[in-house]
Symmetry: C2
Subunit: 415 residues, 2 copies
């Protein structure tokens, strides 16, 4: 939990400074809600059940359908753009494996109600802002960006027919999962001439830097069709994201859902699953019976993220909070003052632990105080009758006698 | 969510300063786990389902069984006492009503591995420490405390036989839910003589102050049997809790589960459900096949708590975070610098929003900046070519021109 809090506190902090408001929804929804976005296939991937009212319910495997339901029902009442984040616990009925657990938490960041490229760039900025805060840099992580319409234009220009467009997208989506020969064979099956097959292969394997759409434009001999990705390009540069990002036309992210920009964040070696994925989904709110509401956002889970941070030595060894003070009683008279002393220090907002041990042995108790990681030990003995306690700095081992009424001031002053 | 965070952040802050570590468990468990503590009756109160492995699972309606399972399986490896808190989302298959919702969050605070009264007192201190932090005082809330063994001794002394002891406890438990006549009749049914019936009624209706067990001792003519509640009494005084607490022998909290101290926190008028309830459950870890592990703790939900805080005007009207800066662009040239300016300020840790509006009209944009609650508006116009921006203090309406490179320093210095 200390690690999970370390991540989720940072998610929250970064979301807020980027101007997003936190929301949450129920941990289960009507099963049908998940079919709207993902079809019947989703049913085998989630935990579902029937309640006593014979309603088919499902534990949420993702937050987006809940988000879409909430926005669809409130769309006219909410000022635009709607900038929401959420950190739900989610469950998937899968075999646990590296990067995938049955239950996990996921950070979702979405801008709804704006079709401007600045919204796409802002969501990417938020993801990068968080990763930078975790100690990751452009040397560790790449944001791989593509754009549905741009890829469609490129594929059309190469000669892919409308009927084969989905097959071409599917092929791109599987590019990293299949052998190069299979990929090349797949291109040939799209019905292109030999020259186009070669160019398709070449274009899809290249990465394009932010701010250098020129090569792509020249290779393709097209201009206007790149307007959308050019707007995005401008915003990515404005937000200072060029070093983190690259265009990679192989990023597709499923077929039905995204409508424009799509992106994935990957650890740069590529051995892990994606750290995060997202994009523009301008039609989803309408699928949930809401008014037309353009939208863009991403999800980032805690599982792959933790693996990457741990591998890179960027997950602090011990993020659990350490006490300011550990109170021990070395005489019976001291023990009678344990509660009052502890209460007094805690009421002042200090993090205070005390020993539950029945022993009155100084060495044993002091060892427990040290092990707790506390800055100070407060030692109660018969001197408590004179309202005097021992105060030991556990870093320096310096020990002094302090009047009870001056204890708080002494601790606050000295650190 | 802003309110929920306001509460759960305070729960966490108070738990940590009282020396508790945060844990969590899965949102569903095997259904049988919930029957161990609560019997078959629990099944109708929770959401349960069968997974593809034909296991009966249930969405957690409470955290204690998970806690017991975790502690039982790790009991020997964990240093004692185990001081854990958790803030799970829980679900109950109930009709929603005031003080009870289908899904809610609940703060659980437990000390396991100590049978000392100091543990009982520490858990009560934590609950009170939190309520005090919310602005509640002994005038608003009463911690009603009883003790299973003490009540058993009192009832035995009055002549309640062992066979009728459970019936007597049940009667006490229902005391506030039934008419006084029914209660009196119930006592008579316990087989007591007329004099004892009267004394039973009298003793059970009285509240006893902390530090004044004398009247109870005298009335009963007993001594040693009060040893446990006397230890508790001493610790409650040590922790400075006397003003908040009273003994109320009508507090029973179910029959099977608690073994010693039991307590409930109530808003003082008594119109709301309990704010929190807890007590000592020394046998539970054994019921979950763990080693003998004495334990004490409480749960506090967000629903009644929110009702009480709102009723008393103690829930801040607006706890949602307000921006430090709102960036607006009043010319096209200014708009081109929106991303970079926003990114620069956010990278410095400031909470920054910007206008998504396409308008360049100063008045309209400034209204949006004001409505956001931001401290500052940063105004981008053609002066950005000279690396100069407008900076308006939204509280004083004072506006100055600032060099872009000095913007951060200016904002930080001026607050």
């Amino acid at each position: 939990m200390a690690w999970r809090n370390y991540l989720s506190d940072a998610w929250r902090r970064v979301s807020i400074r980027n101007g997003f408001d936190q929301v949450d929804g129920p941990i289960f929804e009507l099963l049908d809600l998940y079919k709207v976005k993902s079809g019947e296939g989703i049913v085998s991937e989630l935990f579902h059940f029937m309640d006593r009212g014979e309603r088919e319910l499902a534990i949420r495997p993702e937050f987006t359908p809940t988000l879409a339901r909430m926005v669809a029902s409130q769309a006219n009442a909410l000022p635009k753009p709607i900038k929401w984040f959420t950190i739900p616990n989610l469950c998937r009925a899968e075999k646990p494996q590296r990067g995938r657990l049955r239950e996990f938490i996921q950070w979702n960041v979405d801008v709804l109600g704006s079709d401007a490229a600045v919204a796409d760039a802002e969501t990417i900025f938020v993801a990068v802002d968080f990763l930078a805060e975790m100690g990751l840099g452009p040397d560790h992580v790449r944001v791989k960006i593509s754009h549905r319409q741009t890829v469609r234009h490129i594929l059309a220009k190469l000669g892919v027919s409308d009927e084969r467009m989905n097959a071409a997208f599917e092929l791109l989506d599987r590019r990293d999962k299949i052998e190069p020969e299979q990929f090349t064979k797949g291109i040939a099956d799209l019905g292109l001439d030999e020259h186009s097959v070669e160019r398709f292969d070449q274009i899809c394997r290249m990465k394009y830097k932010i701010g250098s759409l020129g090569p792509l434009r020249e290779q393709l001999g097209i201009g206007d069709e790149l307007a959308e990705i050019e707007s995005l390009d401008e915003q990515l540069r404005a937000f200072g994201l060029a070093d983190w990002c690259e265009y990679d036309l192989g990023i597709v992210r499923g077929l039905a859902y995204y409508t424009g920009t799509v992106y994935e964040l990957h650890e740069i070696s590529g051995v892990e699953r994606a750290l995060a994925g997202g994009g523009r989904y301008d039609k989803l709110i309408e699928m949930f019976n809401g008014p037309p509401t353009p939208a863009v956002g991403f999800g980032m889970g805690d599982v792959v993220l933790s693996n990457v941070l741990i591998d890179k030595g960027l997950m602090p060894d011990d993020v659990s909070p350490k006490p300011d003070v550990f109170v021990i009683a070395v005489t019976d008279q001291g023990a009678a003052a344990l509660g009052a002393t502890t209460a007094m220090l805690r009421r002042a907002g200090l993090h205070v632990r005390f020993s539950y041990k029945e022993t009155r042995k100084f060495a044993k108790l002091m060892k427990e105080a040290s092990n707790s990681g506390a800055k100070w030990a407060v030692i109660l003995d018969d001197q408590i009758a004179n309202k005097v306690v021992g105060l030991k700095n556990l870093a320096t081992s310096e020990q002094v006698e302090v009047k009870l009424e001056e204890l708080l001031a002494h601790i606050s002053e000295t650190g």
